[in-house]
């Protein structure tokens, strides 16, 4: 079940719109934050709060790529593979990650630490190649940097290489 806090947040957000249903994306974000993914309960809870049929929630969840229907690792590596990154070394990064983590696209490491995803352009082309890990951007990637990031995340739980406010050049 959604926590009191989450429910309160959602009821607040509902007020921003003339139509309850509009709060569905924000509500799903909150639910995903709570559970790490969108479980059946989570979606039902959102449906109840927004007075929707659960199917109306599910149709939305299956349309947007950032909602996840199954639990993923603690860190979701979302590597950009679109043109600018691709021609600036994304492919090396990808094959390195696959080798190092021993997993393929969509898979999660046995220790449930990392999930690997390939995504389309994340608006970091100027600093290609780039990836997003959970909410943080990591840019101008090199194989070495990737190793450092993974090590830091695995050990201290955050990486010094995360991008700050974006400026390019």
């Amino acid at each position: 079940m959604l926590s009191e806090k989450a429910q309160a947040e959602i009821t607040e957000i509902v007020k921003r719109y003339p139509v309850r249903r509009s709060a569905i994306l924000p509500a799903l974000w909150i639910a995903q934050r709570e559970f790490g993914y969108l479980s059946e309960e989570a979606m039902r809870a959102v449906a109840n709060l927004l007075e929707l049929n659960p199917t109306q929630v599910y149709e939305v969840v299956t349309f947007y790529t950032m909602y996840s229907l199954k639990p993923s690792g603690r860190y979701v590596l979302q590597v950009c593979r679109t043109l600018s990154c691709a021609i600036c070394g994304a492919m090396e990064i990808i094959s390195h990650l696959e080798k190092r983590l021993g997993i393929k696209e969509g898979e999660t490491t046995p220790d449930r630490l990392f999930t690997l995803r390939y995504v389309e352009c994340i608006a970091a082309c100027g600093n290609a190649p780039a990836m997003q890990i959970n909410q943080d951007y990591y840019e101008n990637l090199t194989v070495q940097k990737v190793d450092q990031i993974l090590n830091e995340l695995a050990t201290v739980g955050k990486s010094s290489l995360a991008s700050g406010p974006f400026m390019c050049p």
């Binding site: 979606m43 199917t55 929630v57 599910y58 149709e59 299956t62 349309f63």
Partner: protein, 892 residues
């Protein structure tokens, strides 16, 4: 049809010019020129989506090709609908659609009636340029009665839009995206919905098909006969499609029938009873205790002999006849004629007695016509709809669609007064969810609410100004009564406060086209007749009885409840609802039938059974009714029937009652006979024979006629039509076929009579008698109530496999909070205990059900739940009530 004059524009399509109302869609305008613009996703019932792109046309002065399904016509529009450019574009679209469509037509049930097949001939190249691997979906099991084959889906989303826009269910939604987009359900589960079959019918390809008759036929092998659905009083037009004298499917056609092509689960999936193996195929006669097959000759002569003896020994009053309100007008008419003339008995009644007679009597008293006052068209055009005790989407699904249409498409205001609560998010409609003003009242107190509303009319001072001069006495009496009543009392009993009552009255006053409905909650509850009179008073006071597009309406259950009563199947009425106690009326019949009419007896449904118990009635002729499964044990139906010297049961199946019969006669189903039904709206609609009679079964009217001959009182008719014409001669109303033709509206003289003195009768009971508070016994904290459910109509639906799969058993619906308190989960067994007995059932928590109330589907009540009730007979309308009772719920 609002009668505003619409502006016309003239447009030119492929050189032909046509004048059409401005604003209609180009694709429709072209139709009027006989130009069918190819399309997949467009459907006249749905808002355009323009996703298939098949309807591209070239419009002068518009750079790009446009979709004819989205463009409203404008004056002088010039369109190329079949130029080379257009055809090439469509071929392009078609190639894309086919690129991912499998070539499994040979094993596709849509084969032969598939839009894609049809258009492919016209718009595709001979060979495929698509050399890649086709997209393919994971196969999903969609449940026992609908087959989902997404590889065939062309993603037009018609099913999804129908499910939302027409049915208001949202059970089917778009899933995933890109070229794997598909219609689907929550978590890709089995489909849970109203099972209206609309998605199957509206799917242009074979993506969604019925599993009920999978692979059983090719469309062109089917004999298709238009007839009327037997399941409820909405009176939907449907096609019975049969192969080798077996009905294999039902379809309906857009724009046809009162249902305009829509059906409910019962209509679409409830046909398997027709060819059910348990159908009676021969007469059965009791010999040395056993029911044994006999010939019709034997059966009829046996019946004749015994009836003659009984009539001779005890007189006609010792014989009774009860017929189902599912029979045709012709059956009913002949039945009462047979009973009255041949057997000389006025002990005749029908299942309409179980409630509808309250409505008939009340409306007849006030406006002189017993029918619904508003046509379906008027209902979808209402600007305010007031539902009193009417769970309309559950009891009358198609009429429910008209209400939804009024609310969703035309922005009508909806006020609901009844016990049920909102349960948003359900995929089985609950009209309360659509209400602008959902007023929840304690169960069984709708009647008191009406009195409260009448008080509010005076306090708001908004009653029809013309009324005081027209009927001073009437207004005065009502005003007095109103002032005598206190809002506190009303609130204590119903739970509705003064402000809410006033709000309803203001809404009524503001509205122009107000349609008022009463349903089960009023009609089938104690005092139903009087409450309906009060409802009429409310309408009169607020000027909503006679006003254009206004009216008071009572919902019916069975397919021909309206008809059987109008045919005179009721001791108090002769055909045409003439008062059986009026000499003039009797004279009329005598003249018509050229025989004098002794109206011996005159007992109603329940009275007959009681008389039988007392040994005053010796013979009962039951046609399509099964009192043993209907009435609570308390009535002691079995004891009554066992005392009879002769019990004849005429039915499709061997019923519980039938097992006690001396003689069982096999009757035809609606699919095997001709005749007419009169739907609740008053439409007299024709049944057509789709298949030959099953076994030796015969149409009910034929059996009456045969039996009459055996009794030396010939009632000879060549066919049902001959009876129809006699009916038409007898009842002028029936010379018109369509309800829209005759004035079902208020009969002035009658209303004036009511306003002058008619209202005085029973005024005390109606108003001044202080409304009794429903006493709640702490030992029995719950109120158990029975009623219909969407998926069943009674014995017929219980013999339709598909419907049984959808709803296999009676589930006791309980409010989730109560369920939690009792620690009950879905499907858990509970014991329902009333002062009269115990029944064991499974529970189904449902937010719709108010706290401290439990709801049980009546069709399943014969398994024991009915016996928890006691029966109360209405002293005036003689309607037996067993709608609610106090119970205790214990987990097992």
């Amino acid at each position: 049809m609002t009668l505003q004059t619409v502006k016309m524009v003239s447009i030119t399509v492929d050189g032909q010019t046509v004048t059409v109302p401005t604003g209609i869609l180009l694709i429709e305008a072209a139709k009027r020129l006989g130009i069918e613009i190819p399309h997949f996703c467009y459907h006249p019932k749905l808002s355009p989506d323009a996703n298939c792109r098949m309807c591209l046309v070239d419009i002068e002065k518009v750079p790009k090709l446009q979709t004819a399904c989205t463009v409203p016509v404008t004056e002088g529009m010039v369109v190329q609908a079949s130029s080379v450019k257009v055809i090439e574009a469509r071929k392009g679209v078609m190639e894309f659609i086919l690129s991912s469509h499998p070539l499994d037509c040979p094993i596709c049930d849509q084969g032969g009636e598939c839009h894609l097949q049809d258009l492919a001939h016209e718009y595709s190249r001979q060979y495929s340029r698509f050399k890649e691997e086709k997209r393919s979906y994971e196969k999903e099991y969609f449940g026992p009665i609908i087959e989902k084959e997404m590889n065939r889906c062309i993603q037009c989303m018609r099913c999804v839009r129908y499910c939302d826009e027409v049915i208001d269910s949202n059970a089917l939604k778009g899933m995933d995206r890109g070229n794997l987009t598909q219609p689907g359900t929550f978590m890709r589960r089995e489909l849970e919905c109203e099972f209206c079959g609309g998605c199957i019918q509206i799917c242009p390809v074979g993506a969604l098909t019925s599993r009920v008759a999978m692979y059983d036929y090719r469309p062109w092998q089917l004999k298709k006969i238009e007839t009327i659905c037997p399941h409820c009083a909405d009176g939907c037009l449907m096609k019975l499609e049969s192969r080798d004298e077996k009905v294999v499917r039902v379809t309906s056609e857009l724009g046809k029938g009162r249902n305009d092509g829509d059906l409910c689960a019962k209509g679409f999936f409830g046909y398997e009873f027709i060819n059910h193996p348990a159908r009676l195929i021969q007469p059965l006669l009791r010999r040395s205790g056993e029911l044994v097959p006999v010939s019709w000759y034997e059966a009829l002569s046996e019946a004749a002999t015994r009836l003659t003896q009984i009539k001779a020994r005890y007189g006609g009053a010792a014989i009774g006849g009860i017929i189902t309100a599912r029979c045709t007008n012709e059956d009913a008419f002949l039945f009462q004629k047979f009973m009255r003339l041949v057997l000389g008995s006025n002990n005749i009644d029908s299942s309409a007695r179980l409630g509808h007679l309250n409505a008939v009597k009340a409306l007849r008293t006030v406006i002189g016509s017993p029918r619904m006052m508003n046509s379906y068209e008027e209902i979808s055009q209402a600007d305010l709809i007031l539902l009193v005790g009417a769970d309309i989407t559950e009891t009358n699904p198609i009429l429910g669609l008209k209400v939804k249409e009024a609310v969703r498409r035309r922005g009508a205001r909806l006020i609901t007064i009844g016990p049920f609560q909102e349960n948003p998010g359900t995929s089985v409609s609950n009209i309360v969810n659509r209400a602008n003003l959902p007023l929840q009242v304690r169960i069984g107190t709708e009647g008191v609410v009406i009195r409260g509303l009448i008080k509010a009319v005076f306090d708001e001072g908004c009653y029809d100004p013309s009324l005081p001069n027209r009927a001073p006495g009437y207004v005065e009496r009502l005003k007095e009564a109103a002032s005598a009543l206190s809002y506190e009392a009303v609130e204590r009993i119903t739970g509705l406060g003064e402000s809410q009552l006033r709000e309803v009255i203001c809404a009524l006053a503001e509205s122009k086209r107000a349609v008022i409905f009463s349903g089960e909650g009023l009609i089938r509850a104690p005092g139903g007749y009087l409450d309906l009179l009060n409802l009429c008073d409310l309408a009169i006071l607020t000027g909503k009885l006679e006003g254009e597009g206004c009216g008071v309406n009572a919902l019916c259950r069975e397919a021909n409840e309206q008809g059987v009563v109008e045919m005179g199947v009721a001791p108090e009425y002769l055909p045409g609802l003439q008062d059986a106690t009026e000499p003039a009326a009797i004279q009329y019949s005598v003249a018509a039938w050229k025989d004098d009419l002794v109206l011996a007896g005159g007992s109603t449904l329940l009275e007959m059974i009681e008389k039988a118990k007392r040994g005053e009635i010796k013979a009962l002729y039951l046609v399509g009714v099964d009192p043993l499964s209907v009435f609570p044990d308390g009535v002691e139906v079995r004891e009554a029937l066992e005392r009879l010297e002769l019990l004849i049961c005429q039915d499709l199946f061997l019923t519980e009652t039938g097992r006690l019969a001396h003689l069982v006669l096999p009757a035809c189903s609606f699919a095997e006979k001709e005749g007419t039904f009169t739907n609740q709206e008053g439409q007299v609609q024709k049944l057509n024979r789709a298949i030959e009679p099953v076994g030796e079964s015969r149409a009910d009217w034929e059996i009456f006629s045969e039996l009459a001959r055996e009794l030396q009182y010939p009632l000879e008719y060549a066919d049902a039509h001959e009876i129809s014409s006699e009916i038409a001669r007898f009842i002028p109303l029936y010379q018109k076929r369509s309800a829209l033709e005759f004035q079902k509206k208020v009969q002035r003289t009658c209303l004036e009579r009511y306003l002058a003195q008619g209202y005085i009768e029973h005024f005390e009971e109606r108003y001044t008698k202080s409304p009794g508070v429903g006493k709640s016994d702490p030992g029995y904290p719950f109120t158990l109530t029975m009623g219909p459910i969407l998926f069943h109509s009674g014995r017929l639906s219980l013999r339709s496999d598909a419907l049984v799969k959808i709803s296999p058993e009676g589930l006791l619906q309980i409010n989730p909070k109560d369920a939690d308190v009792l620690g009950l989960k879905e499907g858990q067994r509970v014991r329902i205990r009333s002062s009269r007995g115990i029944a064991e059932v499974k529970v189904h928590p449902n937010q719709k059900i108010p706290e401290k109330v439990v709801y049980y589907p009546e069709v399943f009540a014969h398994t024991g739940v009915k016996d928890l009730f006691s029966v109360e007979l209405d002293p005036i309308s003689r309607v037996p009530y067993f709608k609610t009772t106090s119970v205790r719920i214990e987990r097992v």
